[in-house]
């Protein structure tokens, strides 16, 4: 029942139903009126015809009885009346005389009865007691009831015609216009039956056409109005519920179809807008929730009505809590509340704050409040958007600390630090710089005369850089130089300077000055100390050598004396040999000492290295042959290939030492092999003149390799002074050259002398010359 009621309710509310109902009611009213009029007209028409017929029939009866009347043949008249009254359609027929007495009737019982002139039938003519003259037909009729049916009663006056008042039998005077009346009753049974039939037909026809028309209209409305409208409505309801998947499908080209087409366009637009809105809403939600700052909405009671996850996580505030409780963990409103300003003035305001997170840590943030107003401009809410500046504040603090640290570093630096800005003015000038240069900071800061603070070379670099010139080098590194102090004193410094660039442009320059006054003093003291140490070591070494020689001499003398006492010739020879050897040792020692210690000026001259090498080889050929050692020459140097300007005597000494060492190494070797040494000349890849002396003698141990360039170190006992390689090294250093060796214990050694082309520097720094030898090499005997 409920469903039926709902359905009926839905139907009764539908536009189609209302249209159909309205049309139906109008149609029904129209049809009803039409039917009523038609029936009324028809009935009136037929009734008038009945009256007319009754009138004619009454006239006919009067005419029919006229003759018998004139004859005063009452029987004939009576017979005529009765005959007529027997007709089925005649309900009654009677003739009244002038006094209202019934003279003739088809109802014999009525005869001679008198009717009241004021009776209904009579009243029309006898009103106000006046006899009627010519009365209209309508007023002479009346409706009677006859045997259950209706009957039409008509009174027809019987006028006093000439024949009547002239008749002999008669006594009617001429002045009497009406002699009596014929009262005819005609049954309306047939008439009523016909009228009923007619009404039925009309009503039936009308009802049929009404139903047909109404049905047609209802169908039309249903199919052309109700259903399209229902589709529109259903689709609209779905769209209202967010379902955009359905289109309105309508046939035809009427207004509803066009409405449906327009509706589909609207649906598509609404769908697109809705999707856009949905996306925007999602984006907004996402933005609101995930934006890397915290956002909340505050009402006028300072209660949080909305907040994003960032804020939720940071402050753990809840909806309904007051902003100052959440941000500042305080119970009352902040004194400098800028949300209040927004509420009061409706303006945006922003300020830096320091709140407390849920863990009690400081939370630094910049918050901006924006009013949210209603249509009337009343500020309802304030939206707070705050950016966490904790990192910035932390970095700021760190920067301050770092700046303090750097300032301290610069100020406390033991080296002078001077920096200039992009305009070439001094911006940094520390205490150490003041100590070196003597200018006070207030004089130096802002000063543009950089020659007072930097070496000239660096000042030129700075100027060139500011003028935009291409710099081959934008830095000077650890250059020892002098700067002039405020008092005109030349200050030794080690200077490093850098041109500073920012985005390709010169941003300034910085110079570091290491005060070398103390260092130079110490260096001088150390040099003096070193010289003393060298002297001491040399004297000690010399003493050792001399003591050995003295021991040898004393021992030789003792052995000679013993041999003489014992007359032992062999022992005598041995003792004499000892004395001889030690005298030779003294001679060699003195010679080497002179070579090493004498500040001899090398005499540079043009010499063929091959000739020099051959001289040395020839010098040792005899000695080598005595020891069964072969000296091989391998001179690869072509005449004029390299510059051959060097100190002939010095290089001859070097080569002689190396060849002598090589022979000794072979002599000391107990291997049963053919000992040989090879003397090579050549040129290395850098263009240096190269002498190479190789042997297949005993080689060197690691310990020997470490000590061979030490003074008074010898592996040859009383046959060496321990100065040979030192002398060789000194001469090569004087040439700016390099001495190196390779050796493997038991397999020999190779010594290489490299002399750079051209005349060596006049005062070669001993530190610049190099002595190298790999630790993997093993053995080498040295003098």
């Amino acid at each position: 029942m409920g469903r039926l009621e709902d359905k009926w309710t839905a139907v009764s509310r539908s536009l189609g139903y209302k249209i159909a109902l309205s049309v139906g009611l109008i149609l029904l009213a129209s049809y009803s009126s039409f039917v009523y009029l038609v029936i009324d007209i028809q009935r009136d028409f037929f009734f008038k015809r009945m009256i007319h017929e009754a009138d004619r029939f009454s006239s006919a009866v009067i005419n029919a009885t006229n003759h018998s009347m004139l004859q005063d043949d009452r029987a004939a008249t009576r017979s005529i009346i009765q005959d007529i009254g027997k007709q089925q359609s005649i309900s009654n027929i009677r003739i009244y005389d002038h006094d209202g007495v019934i003279k003739f009737s088809n109802q014999p019982s009525e005869l001679e009865t008198k009717v009241d002139k004021k009776a209904e039938a009579c009243f029309a003519c006898h009103s106000e007691d006046k006899p009627f003259g010519e009365v209209v037909t309508d007023k002479r009729t009346r409706i009677l009831s006859h045997e259950g049916d209706r009957a039409l009663g008509m009174i027809t006056p019987i006028h006093n015609r000439e024949g009547c008042y002239r008749a002999a039998c008669h006594f009617h005077p001429k002045e009497q216009k009406v002699l009596g009346v014929l009262d005819l009753g005609m049954s309306l049974k047939g008439f009523d039956s016909h009228v009923r039939s007619l009404i039925f037909s009309i009503v039936l026809l009308s009802a049929g056409t009404f139903i047909a028309v109404l049905g047609t209209i209802a169908l039309y409305v249903t199919f052309r109005v109700h259903r399209p409208v229902k589709r529109l409505r259903d689709t609209a309801m779905k769209i209202a519920l967010g379902d955009f998947s359905h289109k309105v499908v309508l046939d035809g080209h009427d207004e509803i179809s066009e409405c449906g087409w327009a509706f589909n366009i609207m649906r598509a637009q609404v769908q697109r807008r809705t999707q856009e809105l949905s996306r925007s809403r999602e984006n907004y939600k996402s933005l609101f929730e995930q934006v890397p700052c915290f956002i909340c909405v505050i009402n006028r009671d300072f209660e949080i009505v909305r907040q994003n996850s960032y804020m939720r996580n940071l402050f753990r505030g809840g909806i309904g809590m007051r902003c100052y409780e959440v941000f500042k963990k305080r119970a009352t409103k902040c004194e400098d509340c800028h949300v209040d300003i927004t509420f009061q003035e409706g303006k945006t305001s922003g300020r830096e704050h320091c709140g407390l997170t849920v863990s009690g840590e400081e939370a630094n943030y910049v918050s901006y409040t924006t009013p949210i107003v209603d249509d009337g401009g009343q500020v309802l809410y304030a939206m707070i958007i705050a950016v966490d500046i904790g990192d910035r504040v932390r970095l700021q603090k760190e920067l301050e600390v770092s700046k303090d640290f750097q300032t301290n570093l610069i100020e406390k630096s033991i080296h002078g630090i001077i920096a200039t800005d992009a305009n070439g003015h001094v911006t940094i000038y520390n205490i150490a710089a003041e100590n070196i240069l003597g200018y006070r900071p207030q004089e130096a800061i802002g000063d543009g005369d950089l020659r007072k603070y930097f070496p000239a070379q660096f000042v030129e670099m700075i100027l060139a850089s500011h003028l935009g010139r291409e710099l081959p080098n934008s830095r000077l590194v650890a250059q020892e130089t002098v700067v002039t102090s405020r008092d005109g004193e030349l200050m030794p410094v080690r200077f490093s300077g850098f041109i500073l660039f920012e985005k390709g442009k010169t941003a300034g320059a910085v110079g570091f000055l290491q005060d070398l006054r103390t260092y130079k003093k110490l260096e001088r003291e150390k040099q003096a100390s070193d010289r003393l140490a060298v002297v001491g070591q040399t004297v000690a070494g010399l003493a050792h050598g001399i003591k050995n020689i003295l021991t040898g001499l004393e021992g030789g003398v003792f052995v000679v004396e013993t041999a003489l006492e014992d007359k032992d010739d062999q022992l005598l020879q041995r003792g004499w040999q000892m004395i001889h050897n030690n005298i030779v040792r003294i001679s060699v020692l003195v010679k080497d000492l002179l070579s090493y210690s004498k500040e001899r000026t090398p005499k540079y001259e043009e010499i063929d290295p091959n000739v020099l090498a051959e001289e040395v080889c020839a010098l040792f050929d005899v000695k080598a042959q005595e020891q069964s050692i072969i000296i091989e020459r391998d001179f690869n140097l072509k005449t004029g290939q390299v510059s051959n300007i060097f100190d002939q005597r010095g290089i001859h000494t070097c080569l002689s030492n190396l060849v002598a060492n090589a022979i000794d190494a072979c002599q000391s070797d107990t291997k049963d092999v053919q000992h040989r040494l090879i003397v090579k000349t050549g040129q290395d890849t850098e263009g240096n003149l190269k002498f190479e002396v190789s042997d297949n003698g005993v080689g060197m141990s690691d310990e020997t390799k470490r000590k061979i360039f030490s003074s008074f170190y010898s592996t040859k006992g009383n046959r060496g002074t321990g100065l040979g390689l030192m002398v060789t090294s000194k001469i090569i250093m004087e040439h700016g050259g390099q001495i190196s060796f390779e050796s493997e214990e038991g397999r020999g050694a190779t010594f290489i002398l490299k002399i750079p082309p051209g005349k060596p520097p006049e005062n070669p720094d001993r530190n610049d010359s190099r002595i190298s030898g790999g630790v993997e090499e093993t053995s080498r005997e040295t003098e």
Partner: protein
């Protein structure tokens, strides 16, 4: 049986000198020219005294002395160090610190070059007698 003395020195002249001096005073002498040969000779000859040169190529007298003192068989063999101390003051100081640190007994005598014959013989006699 004459006492046997091993003379170790890289200079043949010193060996000849000391050998002649010791033989003349009734000692039996054996010789070695460096520390490597010296150790070998000590093991072979079992001398009553070793005269050891402090500075020698290859194995120095200091190294050889350490080895002797670590060896159970040789640690009690008396040693007289022979050296020109002036040239090796640093090595000598290191040697003294070493024996003090390790609680190693020092050599039984020191003789400095140039060698005085009487002083040398006196030192030898103090250690092993005639």
């Amino acid at each position: 049986m004459p006492k046997k003395i091993l003379v170790i020195d890289d200079e043949p002249d010193v060996i000849t000198f000391l050998g002649t001096l010791l033989r003349k005073n009734g000692y039996e002498v054996c010789e070695a020219c460096d520390g490597v040969e010296g150790i070998k000779k000590v093991m072979e000859e079992r001398p009553d005294l070793v005269c050891l040169d402090l500075i020698m190529p290859e194995k120095t007298g200091i190294k050889m002395y350490r080895e002797m003192r670590k060896d159970d068989q040789l640690k009690n063999v008396p040693v007289i160090m022979v050296t020109g101390i002036g040239s090796v003051a640093t090595e000598w100081a290191n040697f003294e610190r070493f024996i003090q640190h390790r609680s190693i007994p020092g050599p039984q005598g020191y003789i400095e070059k140039p060698i005085d014959k009487e002083q040398f013989l006196k030192a030898v006699r103090e250690v092993i007698g005639d």
